[in-house]
Symmetry: D3
Subunit: 255 residues, 6 copies
């Protein structure tokens, strides 16, 4: 009986893609009574591949969160960089799930260290920064990239079999770096369900952040658990209302 | 459709207590299709309050796990010290859940640091050792005790209200130690559902390891995720069969 | 011969206050040939006291940085939380100085550990998060607050002498926490030149982030040193131009 | 005048092998007045090559320790994984020496970092777990294996010269990992006195855990030093007596 | 208006070399009003390439510091190992700058991690020891050497172009180790202004410790900042005067 | 059959005090065949209570070590700050024992964390620096002082009973800081055999660095173990001979 919003922080995703992800995300649920809704924002980057795009995605997400206030029992930030996680937790009283944060939590129950396998090497500094922010640097064996851009995968310029081959090669390198599990570093990889194609061929366990974040959202909502105000203190909503978030005027505190 | 075994590592729990815990544990499930079965072992300590009792609880659990092989989709070690977690993972191909390990994972999604609030101070060194083993020492703000033994709580020598008062006092000290969440350090506290009585009165979030471990078991079973052989390598079963675990003779590998 | 922009990330600072800060900032320079210009942004929070306000201050700063492109040799982010530091470094090829980051660097040459003394306790989680992001957590002895809001100081509701008394009390506590230096955690405190009033009365060394950041900007500009693309990779400017930063159309790469 | 028990945690060692080890162990003593006695247990694994075998070796050792109570001045756990170290320290008031723990202590006086060179790669996760438990992970440069099983060495299927060649190759790799010393990761290697054959050919210092543990036992016994109850608290002996360790009935506290 | 002493800890530098360095060092200044004076000591090693030479350089520096008391506003220890940094800070009330310590501070504003590129591998343990002393080990990606001795460089046995080639090769290896900046590990390399020849050819930023230390000296002198007595307590000068530092008799406390 | 030199780094100890210490030190030996010789140096500080005195003690010790070359099988640096440990190890091929380093090694076998209890608070920064140098900071629970100077103890201005009372009070505070063992932070305290008077009254274990260093010297000498050249590389003796250590001319390499 929990409704979960999977909020894509960028704008401009095709409607079909949102529906495709929504359909897949609903298969991730543990309980049939829960539902996942996939939505994106009115304002923000095309995709998040830099710190700039991460920062500029927050406004759109905050506005959407204010608009949909009271409708959802948990919210997932639909990007493997967890942009705006801290700000969204300051704003909201429902569980806010970061796919990367929850994948790291899952990894801790699977083995000693994890690696992140992502699309492009240019994202490594951002990933390292997030790991430091989460105090999880010591648990990360390595960050590796398949160096094969999303477009090429989607447009089949690189075949699925080729992607799988590249991934397996990187997975084995990550294992020799000390990884017992592998976190997919990008939601496009996650919604390709890459783990299903490769798990049998490697010894480490592949963690799909889309799957994990849906399940964690469900779990936290059903337990009544959420982030603590001691780590995410409530801001001065009056001040925000009169400056950067006039949308708050429509929002009554609560939920 | 997952059957979960919650295995109490000590022997001699009263049948009513096992039924009471089973009943409660089933209320923790996210999906109605899943079930939790509470059982204990034929051989082991009365309760686990020392490293000796932890070590001597493993044999009984391994034997039970062999006997019930193929019947369950996940197994929870029913003690907040997670005794035998590594050995059980070497033995089994289903997810093996440690309530403390999974509570630490949950805590990472709730705030920066957690404290453990447990029964007795004599357990602090063991708890610190486990935290080091898990690489989680940096995330622990403090370990604190209510110094009020289980017997006295159960027999009402100390009233529930008094326990709650003591707990709240320790909780506030833990918050000033830097904790954003509080992990209950003992399954008896967990099955008293202490968090329900105190959550409203404190700022930190109380994590119930019984609740979290049931939900994590459910989640991992449904995702097909389990611990990695790279961190928990398969032992030489032939050798074990001929020495310390003759029960393995009845076991065919698999599941 | 370096022109330095001290960019206040919030909007709405009174013109007199900007002039006052500019006047003071110019007294911080090591070389008479350099100049500091204080400016604020067209869009952003009134002040930065939450993660939300930090995130929502970035857009305004990026736009201003694009508009003033080529005019300055270094840019200081005028807030002790260093909001947008990573994004500004992705955008710009001139040194971008974070007052907190540079104060931590200064502290490393003064003694073993530093404390941060700031205005309000509600800012502690954000400060801790930045320390983790910078990998500087181990060097921080404690974070402490004077718990006396900026408004009250400015409007003299709390006298300067009272503020000094409170500060000295917190400073001594920080020393017993292990601090050899004290970083002022807020630019308002910095532009009050609080260190001049208290330094003689305490053993630890007070670090003024406004002063340090001006000097570091000067130093880096004159040495031709700046942040490395290996930690702050260049984003895809074409993509940014067509989405979140159309202002980039007016910008020719370079400088 | 100290009698030291070197207790092999597995059962089934040939009498000759025990005598051979006892003879060698006595050559390790610093003082002629002391003596080492080598014994094994009545119940336990053939050898310890998994966490399961480690856990299941503890009962046998505890029983032997109770039986021989008062006869010895120090006890060495005769396995390089230090199984049951915590439990044995809870039980006993004489020094309990872990060969691995004492080798790490020795390594700290020889150089910056050590590597462990052991028999098989399958033991790496257990070794890493122990390092974390001891808080010694940062001092370990690497873990390496000669990948040549004990049986083959003993039965000369692999000649001593070949073993030495393999060891030297791994030793040089460990040096390039940053090791200044090398801890032998298995007591069979230790009682082959491998260090005598290789020390001249490498720059790092080989640490023999059998030798070090005998000397540390001697030293601690003669100083009257032993483990602290603050880290290894005394368990409730009455409770143990009535459950997992009925043998305690024969034991009077003391020594 | 600050006079800065750059004190070479070894004796026997040719007068021309001192003048050459002084001339170069003065070009590093931010303000024209400041001056750098290069001097060496009457007693000490020819150069510092071992811990012994580092320790034995301190007496000479302390004596010179006493002799020149009151003449300078800041003092730079002219060696990339910062010998005697702690002792000089105990003695002096003016800022004492360690080129390595200040380069590490600079590196923290340039990127995530630095590497040290030095002359010879035999200096690595000393460098690692200093990094641990400074609590900066985690920020160091690697230490690398050009393995080409100072003499050969100076006497042109290895051409400048060859040195540059070797350096660039090591720089690229350091980048793959994770370095965003490179600290020159030797003052001879620093006064060759090597960074000017290589910066354009690599992605990481080269940090010249001579340049940085001059600028930091200037900055600290102009700010009135210096090391804290809480980390560098004042010794008992009477006792020193009557034992190891009779020169102190000529010194009146102050400055 | 090992002769051990206990070398006091300061000059001017009364002959009776040296004889008293020698007599006591010989009671610390494990084997009757070994002997300890206590000596001091011709040049150096009266005692070591600052970094300056530590640095200026090294020359005297190096000279004495050269002079006595070949006479001893191990050398103990007779000061709880281990001055010159690195330099002495560069010079010598026999084991060089630091009392503090070896006490930390001993502490690792006694419990989780140690505290240092020393004479004066002014020595805390030096002690912390050494702990960082040794990579042992994490194992130190706290540093505490009895704040009662050596002179007053020796001259009985403070009675032995009073010293014991003060020590016990600090010991209990250290235990509440998390210490399982207490390292005496000064050799004068060590040769007062303070542990014998207090051990029965506290739960933590007192470690006497004089005792431990004698036993470790004996152990290392008898095992043929010494520090590794990979951490303490051999310096250029020719160069040293011609500059800071002309005494080396009398020394033939070896031993």
């Amino acid at each position: 009986m929990s409704d979960i919003l999977y909020l894509m922080p960028g704008k401009g995703a095709a409607k079909e893609e949102k529906l495709r992800r929504e359909k897949i995300a609903n298969t991730f649920l543990t309980s049939e009574k829960n539902r996942v809704f996939v939505d994106d924002v009115d304002e923000g980057p095309l995709s998040i591949e830099s710190s700039i795009e991460g920062d500029l995605s927050v406004h759109g997400m905050l506005k959407k969160a204010i608009l949909t206030k009271g409708k959802y029992d948990a919210l997932i930030i639909g990007c493997a960089d967890d942009p705006g996680l801290f700000s969204m937790r300051e704003l909201l009283d429902i569980p806010v799930i970061g796919p990367f944060e929850s994948s790291i939590a899952m990894a801790s129950m699977i083995g000693e260290k994890f690696s992140v396998i992502t699309i492009l090497e240019s994202g490594f500094p951002e990933t390292r920064m997030i790991l430091r922010k989460y105090g999880a640097e010591q648990k990360c064996a390595s960050i590796r990239a398949i160096n094969c851009c999303v477009e090429d995968m989607i447009q089949q310029k690189v075949s699925r079999d080729e992607v799988i081959d590249i991934f397996i090669r990187q997975a084995k390198l990550a294992e020799s770096d000390g990884a017992s599990s592998l976190i997919l570093g990008c939601m496009t990889m996650a919604f390709l369900l890459l783990e299903e194609a490769v798990q049998e061929k490697i010894s480490s366990i592949v963690i799909n952040p889309a799957k994990v974040s849906v399940k964690m959202a469900e779990m936290m909502a059903s337990m009544g658990l959420k982030h603590s105000v001691l780590s995410y203190p409530k801001p001065d909503f009056e001040k925000l209302k009169n400056s950067v978030l006039p949308e708050l005027k429509n929002l009554e505190r609560g939920k």
